[in-house]
């Protein structure tokens, strides 16, 4: 399976994602420069973390005008798997591929830490290898991860079961105490209605190897790979 990792000026988790796909998952990976309009026939797209265009103005705001984004939109519309991690999530929001927007963390500070997430659905391409209700431990690192959307959109997200990951306690309790950044409804990651586009603030590529202290992120990539392979069969 071939993953395309989009590189914007200022992306900085591109190489980390490449490493995970290539060296850990042992799948094919290629970089896609933001000026390209062709996705080189990849089977899945990763929008990596970082500070595209310095995150000046608003996180992800400028990146969404990159030529590659039209191709990513088309790819998503055709049902291709797209995962946006951290800055990638912010770009997906700005580009309208997912609903909502990011505000500054309520602490007003950048936060680098380990958090726990509750996996709310296990019937998606990104999460089918998790156990129902599983709690996973995963790193975050962001200054603008405070997810916001208008109330009617939140209702829609809930109704369509689009909230894939929520911040929670190690035991799975979802409460404000375990909300690192002030996100609405403790949202850490959402998918689109069709289920093929995921945006998440935490970094699965940072916890896909034992040596890094955890492997819960591995399952997200493994889920995508298995899903795609089964779909193409």
């Amino acid at each position: 399976m071939r993953f395309g990792i989009v590189v914007f000026p200022g992306s900085n988790c591109d190489a980390d994602c490449y490493h995970v796909i290539k060296d850990v998952m042992q799948e094919e990976a290629c970089y896609i420069w933001h000026k390209e309009t062709d996705l080189q026939g990849v089977d899945a797209v990763i929008l990596p973390g970082g500070f595209s265009y310095g995150d000046y103005l608003r996180a992800g705001a400028i990146a969404r005008f990159s030529p590659v984004m039209s191709a990513v939109k088309e790819f998503a519309a055709r049902g291709g798997l797209v995962i946006g991690i951290c800055n990638g999530f912010q770009i997906l929001l700005e580009a309208g591929l997912l609903p909502g927007a990011m505000l500054r963390n309520r602490s007003l500070k950048f936060i680098c830490d380990q958090v726990h997430l509750k996996v709310n659905r296990t019937d998606t391409p990104f999460s089918h290898l998790f156990a129902p209700g599983e709690v996973v431990k995963i790193p975050i690192a962001h200054g603008e991860g405070n997810y916001y959307c208008p109330p009617e959109i939140l209702e829609e997200l809930k109704a369509n079961r689009q909230i894939l990951f929520t911040y929670c306690s190690p035991q799975g309790e979802v409460s404000d105490e375990y909300n690192p950044n002030g996100s609405l409804a403790n949202i850490a990651g959402i998918i689109n209605k069709e289920g093929n586009v995921l945006g998440m603030m935490p970094h699965p590529e940072r916890c896909s190897e034992e040596i890094l202290g955890g492997t819960d992120g591995f399952k997200i990539f493994a889920s995508m790979i298995k899903w795609a392979k089964e779909a193409s069969r």
């Binding site: 608003r58 005008f65 927007a101 505000l103 916001y148 208008p150």
Partner: protein, 83 residues
């Protein structure tokens, strides 16, 4: 050349963590009478255009497309100088 001012503010109802923090600091500093603070952006744009109207149209458009995020922000444009 024209000069435009773009005011970008958070929509009513959208939380403003920075504004709240500033309000709190102001209280600590002794400005007890401050009831609310909202922090938005003040963007100055210098641009070439055929007319004031065209300048306004262009800046309106770039505000809608890039300078403000319609999910959370409102904006207002003013042409303040030029030709």
């Amino acid at each position: 050349m024209y000069k435009a001012h773009v005011y970008v503010v958070l929509k009513p109802g959208v939380l403003d963590p920075k504004g709240d923090a500033v309000k709190k600091s102001l209280h600590v500093m002794g400005y007890k009478g401050v009831n609310e603070v909202r922090i938005g952006k003040f963007i100055e744009v210098w641009l070439e255009a055929e007319s004031r109207e065209e300048a306004l149209r262009k800046v309106e458009k770039m505000s809608a497309e890039l300078l403000a995020n319609p999910v959370i922000e409102d904006y207002r444009v003013e042409i303040v100088g030029g030709e």
